[in-house]
Subunit: 732 residues, 2 copies
């Protein structure tokens, strides 16, 4: 792959769902789909309908940061995302760019082309911004174009054509058209009628086909599958099982109709609608709890400067919405506990790829091996957050500014939130027992800062939290909720299933005629750590069992920590082992504590699960970034997306595992740490018709970074500072 | 070991700390230690000094459960702990029991002898209580007596002498006397003088010796080590390194003085005092955050009936303080989401043992392989919680009623708290993307109920939370904070340390002359699961990689879930493996969901770390319950303490691993699940002089227990129900 520029992607497509006979998403009159523009993209398009979390009652005491006025917004920081005006300018420049003057391409992605890291690191507030550039992915005549547009010179300064495998994912227009394509096919219509589904109840989705060899090569392909939405909004629970239509995206040609589901009933809609308004006897069966709320009557302790620079307690970082990553955290800096000076911790962090293989080799399921970041985009699928429920009452909301396929900007409102979290937890504490003769009871409440986005990638909802602690720890948490991807089955009870059939079942019977198929989630984070500067090393601190010599000690064994500095990338490919444990430090050997310990942060694994797929399986080869739980690479501006830049139908040659295979030196270099959170999911009845959230997290934790506990001086809660609350007017 | 009765322990001793020259703990006049009675045990002794978390401002709106009046308390439930009056009666009965009439033994433990499980399970509110009995451990003339006292007949109905290894841990009086014993020894006094420590600054602690073969056999032994408290309350950071005095507890004889630390300086007191009052420039260096609080102006949604039966949302359970376990949760029952009927989940759960091996084979360190539950007691070391800081403002506090060595009761006030937790998290949610044509944004806030105790076992503080969720999940969380156990060293900077010396270092230089020694924590939970009754099975649902046949599928591999029902105990000895994953279900094969799935709960591992010690190491043999992460045993009333009932100097023959070795049948039986949370701890400078909390947790999670998501009907937050808060009067 020739292409090397930075943050350069995509207008990604979602599950291309169309409602047939009822209303088209893009056109309520049932006509042709039209290009998505801001006025149509209602729920997430304007900032006018911003949902206010604040009531009149509390507005006077809340001192929230001001929301951005996108119409007048200008960049203030080298990493600030492109504004509405800048995106419009990119479109104007591209319109007069010779290769596109006769035929304007489909715009898949427009985003800031970030200045070089050295430029950003040397920039300070008050200095002029480095030149603003846009990275654009545009598709025209079967070619994926990657362009750099200089907004100052109004020139296209770089133009590459993707020579490798993979495509940008679909535009909204493609998505709608493709999902509609089967409707003109008599065979398809006959099958639908035979399955007893009315056209007016049909919901079809456009699924990424993965990549499985020759027959998908050389053309953009989508797999269309359909559901019945009769009697429920939760069409995901009503699959027309075993019907898959393979469509060529460019020609709209139906390449193949596979129908293996004849005789499998459409599951009923019973209890599938999860909306509160649809529940019977809700209050009777589950008495609501008394109101409970996180309250900050003096307002939050954080500020958001110019919409992007967050300052809270001892932390400062840059925050921006991104269509592909959801939210990107940059230049995270923490104050030294002794000097008060800012010290760099992480240059950039974001979810780089999310691999979701389903574990069913049958024709309608084998290809379901999604790469949700590259194929759908965590930002594009981040809908407006629900105030008081997705984020607590004291949250501040952040918008994204993204781009339609025709190159116009739109506002994805309230797609992230920032809030202070207090959960009744304890930062540190100690009590002396009476036996010491000292009556000491010291405890400190734990308050943290959370940045949250939630991507709704079709059925699944991914909650991604960055939680900053005053002790210097960053916790990265992923929550999984939303709907299962389920499979229709003839069975209504497990007792009807014979031995052989049971062996062939690829999941759990979660409702009548519904199997929740076993699957995994692997979410790989890009973590460009800069501990006190860019020259860092990766150190495995191995814990090993040591045997004592005869007569040395009454103990026969003990555990010893041994430092092993990784020299090259392969030294840093880590598979975690319970009985061969280690800590994983990123340290700066050039910066020592007063005691001579190198300053560092460690990644503390959590949410560990490994992919069991065979390494020669095409699905695993594309997702080979999940072959290890930890990788370290030397910094390279072009290596950011673990599954490759052009992920749709990618063949795996542009991926973290391939880059790491070069085994470059990483000691005392600018290095990037990659960590993969994993989840095995065997569904159960509790996951039907919507899943309680499952959470996992990992930490970035200071290790000899501070001279001592950085929150030794933290103040305790005292009664006089806490708010005085009354029941609301409504319940009083 | 002959002894088989239930919940029968101990008056355990803490770190026996004495302050020399200043004030004796038990006697401010510097005279002989006296027996601890309620009037002396000030911080935790009476209910009069109960700390009220409620201010006048909010008292009127808080509807907290009423605190117990211990003077008039009577039992209402078969599992209610012994009351003050009952304990007094036990003492009276024992006083006239012939073996004790001439010489009253030291009372180590008095606790309810719980009625048989079948009796408790068939008891219902309104029925008379089963006969009340006490289990007593008393030490006299070198013998450990285990007695059952019938409170109705006023008879001792059972009296066994411990024939196996191990002792009850020390009484307060023993502890004080033993720690004082070296002071009469000229060699010891000379060493102390030589190390430059004044007697008035000396703090000595009595440490459990573990068990390492012959020389500790046949007598009760303690290891006494000392610190300087000059200039700091944090004497733990000022060790007189390498000085260990081995003392016979019964004779007070000095058995051995080991001094290997000559020339090792006492670390300075700089920055070791962690009290807020001792901080310089606290507000300047760390600006306090704006006030933040969890508020419930209508009061909590839970009730605590008669001080012990907690009812909240869809949960009900019995809660009691216990001197050994801290808090015991019994008869946890959840409402069926469809019928509203109560369904049993867990008969009893508590932390059964806590193994803390330090990783240094030298003479002053090899024996530090503590078993904190059996040797010190998590309840006895649970000091009054700090309102607003250890527990949030909306917490309700619970007392323990424990026993002094002379058999008198005392109240350990506020040693547990119960509160509703809202952290801004999400129970479940889903947004539809615009592409579905449905504008759906459904989200539910997550509110949980937490039961918290914090044991201060000498230097370390262990936060143990039981968190109940409305979706049926129980999360068991352990937080580690407090102080490191540190080792003195001649070095002030790592650069002074040569290669060989560095290899010999057993920890991290965390301050000048201070090494934080590498160590582990393993906390093993007893979980008597009763899923819809007592007849349960343990099922490993193994996830295995399957290869497809040639031509079967474009996929080469997928992952398959295979159920394996454990027949005997050895089938259920589980070492976790990342690349050989499984789910671990406790199911009731006799109780099926409407779909035919057996109802069940799974243990979801978290906080995994395994002991690397050699199995033949005496320390590991005693703590062989950490050889696996999961065990399942058939229910046996006498098998509750994973490291044995008499833990002090135990040799490991009465332990979980030994019981399990019998390999008894466990399929379709009343079974007990054991799970061990593990922590490896390589200290770092951030742990000095007090450690930020490290948390790990595991879950008990319903799996096909409910017919569907049990919180489908949960109501969302709406603004009108939330409180109206103002800044407090103080800050207004």
């Amino acid at each position: 792959m020739e292409i090397t520029s930075f943050l350069r992607f995509l207008f990604l497509v979602l599950l291309g769902v169309i409602l047939l006979g009822g209303s088209w998403f893009f056109d309520n009159k049932g006509g042709e789909p039209v290009g998505l523009d801001c006025s149509l993209n209602k729920p997430c398009c304007t900032s006018k309908n911003r949902i206010q979390a604040k009531s009149d009652l509390t507005l006077d005491t809340l001192k929230q940061p001001k929301p951005i006025d996108h119409l007048t917004e200008t960049p203030h920081h080298p990493l600030d995302p492109l504004t509405l005006q800048e995106i419009n300018k990119v479109r104007t420049i591209l319109s007069s760019y010779p290769p596109f003057t006769t035929s304007f391409p489909a715009i898949h992605f427009v985003s800031l082309d970030e200045p070089d890291k050295s430029v950003v690191r040397s920039w300070n507030k008050g200095l002029p911004l480095p030149p603003r550039k846009a990275s654009v992915i545009a598709y025209l005549n079967g070619q994926s174009n990657l362009l750099t547009v200089d907004l100052e010179s109004s020139q296209v300064t770089r133009h590459d054509i993707n020579q490798g495998s993979g495509y940008p994912s679909l535009t909204f227009a493609d998505m709608a058209a493709v999902a509609k394509a089967p409707l003109t096919n008599p065979e398809f219509m006959e099958i639908i009628a035979g399955r007893g589904v009315r056209l007016s109840d049909l919901t079809c989705v456009s699924l990424s086909p993965g990549w499985y060899g020759e027959r998908e090569e050389g053309r953009r392909v989508v797999k269309v599958q359909c559901f019945s939405n009769e009697g429920t909004v939760n069409f995901f629970m009503r699959p027309i099982e075993g019907l898959t239509v393979t469509v060529d995206v460019d020609t709209r040609e139906i390449l193949r109709i596979s129908h293996t589901g004849a005789g499998i009933p459409i599951p009923t809609a019973t209890d599938t609608d999860y909306r509160y308004s649809a529940q019977n006897k809700a209050e009777e069966m589950m008495k609501p709890l008394n109101p409970i709320s996180i309250e900050q009557p003096n307002g939050p302790s954080f500020s958001v400067e110019n919409g992007h620079v967050v300052k809270w307690a001892n932390w400062e970082f840059h925050l921006k919405a991104d269509p592909r990553a959801g939210v990107i955290i940059s230049q995270a800096v923490v104050q030294d506990s002794e000097t008060g000076q800012p010290r760099s911790v992480m240059y950039k962090g974001f979810p780089s790829e999310l691999f979701v293989p389903y574990m069913d080799p049958s024709d309608a399921w084998y290809f379901k091996t999604y790469m949700d970041v590259g194929e759908y985009g965590l930002g594009l699928t981040s809908m407006p957050l629900v105030p008081l429920n997705d984020c607590p009452r004291n949250a501040h909301y952040i918008d994204g500014v993204f781009v339609t396929p025709d190159g116009k900007p739109y506002v994805q409102s309230n797609m992230a939130c920032v809030f202070e979290r207090y959960a009744g937890d304890i930062s540190w504490r100690h009590s002396e027992t009476p036996f010491s003769g000292m009556e000491i009871r010291e405890a400190r409440p734990k308050v943290t800062l959370v940045v949250r986005t939630i991507a709704s990638v079709g059925n699944y909802d991914y909650i991604v939290d960055w939680e900053f602690q005053t002790d210097g720890l960053i916790r990265i948490k992923v929550g999984l909720t939303g709907m299962l991807m389920v499979k229709g089955t003839p069975f209504q009870n497990i007792n009807q299933v014979g031995e052989a059939e049971r062996n062939a079942m690829t999941g759990t019977l979660v409702s009548e005629n519904v199997i929740g198929v076993v699957h995994d989630h692997f979410i790989t984070f890009y973590l460009d750590m800069d501990i006190d500067g860019t020259n860092n090393s990766f150190v495995k601190v191995n814990l090993e069992n040591e045997l004592t010599s005869p007569g040395e000690s009454p103990r026969k064994s003990y555990m010893k920590a041994k430092r092993d500095v990784a020299q090259t990338e392969k030294d840093a490919q880590v598979k975690l082992k319970l009985y061969d444990p280690a800590e994983f430090h990123v340290v700066n050997h050039g910066k020592r504590s007063r005691l001579g310990n190198p300053t560092g942060y460690k990644v503390v694994p959590g949410g560990t699960a490994a992919s069991l797929l065979d390494h020669t399986d095409p699905a695993q080869f594309r997702a080979s970034f999940t072959n290890n739980q930890i990788w370290v690479t030397p910094y390279n501006k072009s290596e950011q997306w673990a599954g490759g830049l052009f992920t749709w139908q990618s063949q795996g040659e542009d991926s973290l595992a391939m880059w790491s295979e070069r085994d470059r030196p990483i000691d005392n270099k600018d290095i990037v740490l990659w960590y993969t959170l994993g989840f095995h999911h065997i569904p159960c009845q509790e996951d039907f018709p919507i899943m309680p959230t499952v959470l996992a997290s990992f930490d970035l934790k200071p290790v000899n970074f501070f001279e001592k506990n950085p929150i030794l001086r933290a103040s305790p809660n005292v009664e006089k500072d806490l708010p005085f609350c009354r029941a609301s007017v409504a319940s009083a």
